[in-house]
């Protein structure tokens, strides 16, 4: 098990390769590590061809509640699957296209629980964690609307 803090909400950029390497080393006896890295898109809409170009993004968050929600999600994941360790990193502040926004890493004895818990954490994070994206384009800044599809993805884990 690890002594690292499971949840980090930070303004600073992070290096996914370094984080995943560190997480694997801390959980070397776990049979499987599943990770997801969310990165900032450079377009708005469904495809790059049809959408507007995004020049920057500002992520606002609710300090305190953001960390608390993410910790609660990890507790929930650990109650559903036998997990060895979880790490979640989420940025706030101004980001440039291509920068990592979020990292979820899950260590477990076997791959299926690692994959499932990683998907669960991302799906619930998208609908529960208090972060809001504002995209900047040539036309100005606009808050991103929540997507019904994200609600549906989170719903499939309800029980």
């Amino acid at each position: 098990m690890t002594s690292q803090t499971a949840v980090r909400v930070q303004r600073e950029a992070f290096d996914p390769g370094m984080e995943v390497g560190d997480f694997c080393r801390h959980n070397a006896m776990s049979g499987g590590v599943a990770t997801f890295v969310g990165q900032m898109r450079d377009f708005r809409g469904d495809t790059r061809e049809s959408g507007d170009t995004i020049t920057a993004m500002t992520l606002e968050h609710y300090p305190g509640m953001a960390e608390r929600q993410l910790e609660g999600l990890i507790t929930e994941a650990k109650s559903r699957w036998p997990l060895d360790d979880v790490r979640v990193i989420h940025r706030f502040g101004t980001l440039q296209p291509g920068e990592p926004i979020v990292l979820v890493a899950v260590a477990a004895a076997h791959r299926s629980e690692a994959f499932e818990a990683c998907a669960f954490l991302m799906d619930w994070l998208k609908t529960e964690a208090p972060f809001w994206k504002k995209e900047s384009t040539a036309a100005g800044g606009a808050w991103v609307d929540a997507r019904a599809a994200d609600e549906d993805k989170a719903e499939r884990w309800r029980r």
């Binding site: 968050h61 926004i101 998208k126 609908t127 529960e128 208090p130 972060f131 809001w132 808050w143 929540a146």
Partner: protein, 83 residues
């Protein structure tokens, strides 16, 4: 209590936080929104469509029907879009 606003709710209200003492008959999150709405045009614009507003009491997501009893911190914000 401390009332917090985030994202476009904050922009419409025109501030990120205010310290308020609502009257004793304001007992739910929904009633607090009713009371806030008449504080000014910014508040009225922010709370014009309640279906777009999410709430948290003491940093826990709650429905608009939730009681305010003992609440120290109430937050209003749009549906979240992180990740």
């Amino acid at each position: 209590m401390t009332v917090l606003y985030f994202a476009w709710v904050k922009e419409k209200v025109g501030m990120s936080t205010e310290t308020l003492t609502p009257p004793t008959d304001v007992t739910t999150v929904g009633a607090l929104m009713d009371w806030l709405t008449v504080r000014g045009p910014g508040h009225a614009a922010a709370f014009a469509d309640r279906s777009l507003i999410k709430a948290a009491v003491d940093q826990v997501h709650v429905p608009h029907t939730a009681p305010l009893a003992g609440a120290k911190e109430v937050a209003f914000f749009p549906p979240v879009t992180g990740g």
